[in-house]
C-alpha cells in the first residue's frame, strides 16, 4: 500500500468551498488520471473517473461517491477595511474567533486573514461577553489598509480555513476539510489497490460537489452515470472529548458500516461479511433516517439505486482541526477495493429483500 499521507495533506491544504471546488478537483484529477481509464467533469463540476471492468459486453457499474467540497465562508459586506462574512454550509461559529483564513479576493489575490471577535464594548449589550457571537458580528481582518481592501475584495468573495495540517502521534492527521477529503483519499487507495486486481464491474470513482449545501453533485452524478449500486464514503462521530454517546465510535479501531433506511440492507450485509472475512475491523453505525451523506440523494436518483455507506470516525467535525486515523482511511480504501473485486457479473440479480 502506498503512503497516502502526502496526497491527503495536499488536498486538505487547498480550498474547494462548496460550489467552488475547482482548485481541489484539479489535484484529485491529477492523482486519479493514471489510476483510471478516463476522467471527466460533470455538468456541475463533479469529477468522474472511470475504471473499466473486465466483464464482456454491457458491464454493470458501481459508483463510489466521496464529496470534495468544504464548508467555508463568503464575504457579505466590506466596511472600514473589515470584511463581514456569512457561512457556506454548516459552519460551527464557535470555532471562528481567532481562526486563520484565506480570502479569495475578486482581484485574484489570496489574502491571508484572521476571523476576529469585536470586544464587548463594540457589540450590542445583550450578553455579548458570555454568549457565542453570531457570525454576523464577526469580521475578517486582512492586515491591509481599508483602501487596499476596498480595491481587492468584493461581496461574494470566498473565505476558507487556512491552517496547515498537523500530524499527531499514533498516525493521526488533523486539519480542516478532512470531512470529506479523507474519503477522497480512501477512494484513491481503493483505485490503487484495484491496479493489481481484476474486477468485472466498471467503477465510477466520483468526487462530488456541494454535498455540504444541497447534495447537488451526488444527485446529478448518480442520475448521469446510472450505476447499479452506489456507495458513499463519509465521516461519522469519533469518540472523544464531549462525544461519548451511542452515536460515537472509537477512532483508529476500524471502519463504520451504516445501517438504516438510507442503506440497502443486502449491500450492508455483504459489506459486513466481507469485512469479517478479511479481518478488517468494523463497527455498526445506526442511522434512523437521513444519513446526512451522499448516500441520501443517491438512493433516490433515477429509479432508485441500492446504496451503502462506509464511514470512518472523525473527531471535532466541522472544525478546522478535524482528526482522523490514517489506518481507518486505509481500511476503508481496502474494503472498497475488495468489495469491487468480489462483484460477480450477476451480483445485481442476487440482491434480495428479506
Amino acid at each position: 500500500m502506498t503512503d497516502i499521507l502526502p496526497f491527503l495533506k495536499s488536498i486538505i491544504s487547498i480550498s474547494g468551498v462548496s460550489g467552488y471546488e475547482a482548485p481541489v478537483a484539479a489535484l484529485i484529477e491529477e492523482k486519479w488520471r493514471p489510476l483510471v481509464d478516463e476522467v471527466r467533469t460533470s455538468r456541475v463540476g463533479s469529477l468522474h473517473g472511470l475504471k473499466r471492468g473486465s466483464g464482456k459486453g454491457k458491464r454493470p457499474a458501481i459508483m463510489i461517491a466521496t464529496h470534495m467540497d468544504a464548508i467555508g465562508m463568503m464575504v457579505s459586506k466590506v466596511a472600514d477595511g473589515f470584511l463581514h462574512i456569512t457561512n457556506v454550509g454548516g459552519i460551527d461559529v464557535r470555532v471562528l474567533p481567532g481562526a486563520p483564513v484565506t480570502v479569495h479576493a475578486n482581484s485574484g489575490d489570496e489574502l491571508p486573514g484572521v476571523i476576529v471577535m469585536p470586544s464587548a464594548k463594540l457589540l450590542p449589550e445583550s450578553g455579548s461577553a458570555s454568549e457565542v457571537l453570531e457570525i454576523g458580528y464577526l469580521l475578517v481582518d486582512t492586515g491591509l489598509t481599508p483602501r487596499e481592501v476596498e480595491k481587492k475584495v468584493r461581496v461574494g468573495d470566498l473565505v476558507s480555513f487556512a491552517n496547515e495540517p498537523m500530524e499527531l502521534a499514533g498516525e493521526i492527521i488533523s486539519g480542516h476539510t478532512l470531512d470529506n477529503r479523507a474519503s477522497v483519499a480512501a477512494l484513491t487507495i481503493c483505485l490503487e489497490e484495484l491496479q493489481g486486481k481484476s474486477h468485472v464491474w466498471d467503477v465510477w470513482a466520483v468526487a462530488t460537489v456541494q454535498e455540504e449545501t444541497s447534495y447537488l453533485g451526488a444527485y446529478t452524478s448518480a442520475f448521469d452515470l446510472r450505476p447499479q449500486i452506489a456507495i458513499a464514503v463519509d465521516g461519522t462521530f469519533a469518540k472523544g472529548p464531549g462525544a461519548n454517546g451511542w452515536q460515537t465510535h472509537p477512532m483508529g479501531k476500524g471502519v463504520g458500516l451504516c445501517l438504516g433506511p438510507n442503506m440497502h440492507p443486502f449491500l450492508h450485509k455483504k459489506l459486513t461479511e466481507l469485512a469479517d472475512q478479511l479481518e478488517i475491523p468494523w463497527f455498526l453505525d445506526v442511522t434512523t433516517a437521513a444519513s446526512g451523506t451522499d448516500a441520501y440523494p443517491m438512493q433516490v436518483s433515477a429509479e432508485g439505486i441500492p446504496t451503502a455507506l462506509v464511514e470512518y470516525p472523525l473527531r471535532y467535525m466541522h472544525t478546522p482541526v478535524e482528526m482522523v486515523s490514517v489506518k481507518d482511511i486505509q481500511r476503508a480504501g481496502r474494503l472498497l477495493a475488495e468489495f469491487i473485486a468480489s462483484l460477480e457479473a450477476d451480483f445485481v440479480d442476487t440482491i434480495i429483500w428479506e
Partner: protein, 351 residues
C-alpha cells in the same frame, strides 16, 4: 541610531514563534541572552528569571541618568492539568484568555513542541441551547493524538506562525515580543548620556510580577515600559463611530497618560510628546482608561520611580493572531531612541 530592516523583522519573527508562557520564559530568555551579550556591560538572570542587563553610558563628564526600560518576555497560554488517556489532556489557561478563542485551534506543547489541537464536543451533537453558550475551558481538551504524551505541568501555546502581510505583521505574541526586540535594539545603540538598565521581565501577564523585583535591583532614576496595547479600534456593530477605542493602528506609538494602575509621570509624558514633535515622529496618546503595563509595579517600587509607558498598538489581544502595523513599531523605536539621547538629570529636577 538603531536601524530598522529585515534583520529586525527576522529577529521579531524568531521571538514571536517561540513559546514562552508566564513562568516558563526560557525560550525567549535564550534568544535575548544571545542577542544582548555583545552589547551589555553586565548581564544577570535573577531569581524569577528576569534578564537584567546594564550598559553604562560612555560620557565621561556630567551625571548620567539611570534609565530603566523594560519589556516582558512572557505570553498567555496553557498549562496541562490532567491526563485523561489516549492523548487527551485537561488544561488550564495562563493569563487572560477569552475561552471563545480556543475551540478548534492548533497548539505546540512543551520543549519538544509536540503538536496538538484544542477540541470539544462537536456542534452536531449539541442541542440548540448548547450551541449558543460559550464553551468554558473546562469543556475543552488538548488532544495530542491517540498515543500522544505530555507531562502534567507542561506548557502549551498557540501554534500560529508569524507572518508579514502588506503594512502589517500577524503573530500570536506581538504582545510583547515587539517590546523585547525594541529593547534589544535600544540596548545595542544606547547613547552616551544615560546608563541603560534593560529589564526583560517575566510573569507580566499574571500580575506584573517580574517588573517589581527588576526595579528594586536596578534602582533607576526613571523607567520606561515598552509594551503592546490593544487598539480596540474596530467599527461598532451597527456601523456607528467607535468612541471607545484605546489606540488606532497606523497612528504611531501610543504614549500612556493614565491606565488602570498608573498615572504616568506627567514630566515624562510631556517629554516624549515634545521629542516626537521635534523629530516629526507620529505618535498618539492612548485613551485614558483601564488596562495596565509593568509600570504599575515599577512606579511603586523603592521610594517611587517616575515611569511612563509607550506601546505599539495591536488588535486582538491574547488571541491566536494579533495584528500590528510595521510603521507603528518603526516609529516607536525611533521615538524611544530619540528620547534616550535627550534625557538629562534636569528632566526630573522640575515638577
Amino acid at each position: 541610531m538603531p536601524t530598522f530592516g529585515n534583520a529586525q523583522l527576522k529577529l521579531l519573527e524568531k521571538l514571536c514563534n517561540v513559546i514562552a508562557i508566564s513562568g516558563d520564559e526560557g525560550e525567549v530568555r535564550k534568544i535575548v541572552l544571545e542577542e544582548i551579550k555583545p552589547y551589555a556591560d553586565e548581564v544577570k538572570v535573577d531569581a524569577l528569571g528576569n534578564v537584567l542587563a546594564t550598559r553604562s553610558g560612555r560620557a565621561r563628564s556630567g551625571k548620567r541618568t539611570r534609565v530603566m526600560r523594560y519589556a516582558h518576555m512572557d505570553e498567555v497560554g496553557f498549562m496541562f492539568a490532567e491526563d485523561e488517556g489516549e492523548g487527551i489532556y485537561r488544561f488550564e489557561t495562563v493569563g487572560g484568555i477569552d475561552a471563545r478563542h480556543l475551540l478548534g485551534k492548533q497548539v505546540y506543547v512543551g520543549k519538544d513542541r509536540t503538536p496538538g489541537v484544542i477540541g470539544g464536543k462537536p456542534v452536531h451533537l449539541m442541542d440548540a441551547g448548547e450551541r449558543v453558550r460559550k464553551v468554558p475551558v473546562d469543556g475543552l481538551r488538548i488532544d495530542l493524538g491517540l498515543i500522544g504524551k505530555a507531562k502534567i505541568g507542561d506548557r502549551a501555546g498557540f501554534a500560529t506562525q508569524f507572518r508579514r502581510v502588506g503594512p502589517s505583521i500577524m503573530s500570536k505574541a506581538i504582545d510583547d515580543r515587539i517590546g523585547v526586540v525594541t529593547l534589544i535594539e535600544l540596548l545595542k545603540y544606547a547613547p552616551a548620556n544615560v546608563d541603560v538598565c534593560a529589564a526583560f521581565t517575566v510573569q507580566e501577564e499574571i500580575g506584573l510580577r517580574g517588573a517589581k523585583v527588576a526595579a528594586q535591583y536596578f534602582n533607576p532614576d526613571m523607567a520606561i515600559a515598552i509594551d503592546s496595547t490593544p487598539a480596540n479600534d474596530l467599527p461598532l456593530h451597527d456601523g456607528g463611530e467607535n468612541m471607545t477605542y484605546n489606540t488606532k493602528l497606523g497612528f504611531g506609538p501610543a504614549i500612556y497618560i493614565a491606565d488602570g494602575s498608573t498615572l504616568h509621570d506627567p514630566r515624562l509624558v510631556r517629554f516624549l510628546q515634545a521629542t516626537a514633535e521635534a523629530g516629526a515622529i507620529p505618535y498618539q496618546f492612548r485613551q485614558p482608561g483601564g488596562g495596565g503595563t509593568d509600570s504599575g509595579a515599577i512606579q511603586k517600587a523603592l521610594a517611587g520611580i517616575p515611569t511612563v509607558s509607550v506601546s505599539v498598538p495591536h488588535r486582538y489581544t491574547h488571541s491566536p493572531i494579533s495584528i500590528s502595523r510595521v510603521d507603528d513599531w518603526k516609529n516607536t523605536l525611533t521615538l524611544l531612541h530619540a528620547a534616550l539621547k535627550k534625557i538629562t538629570p534636569a528632566l526630573l529636577a522640575t515638577r
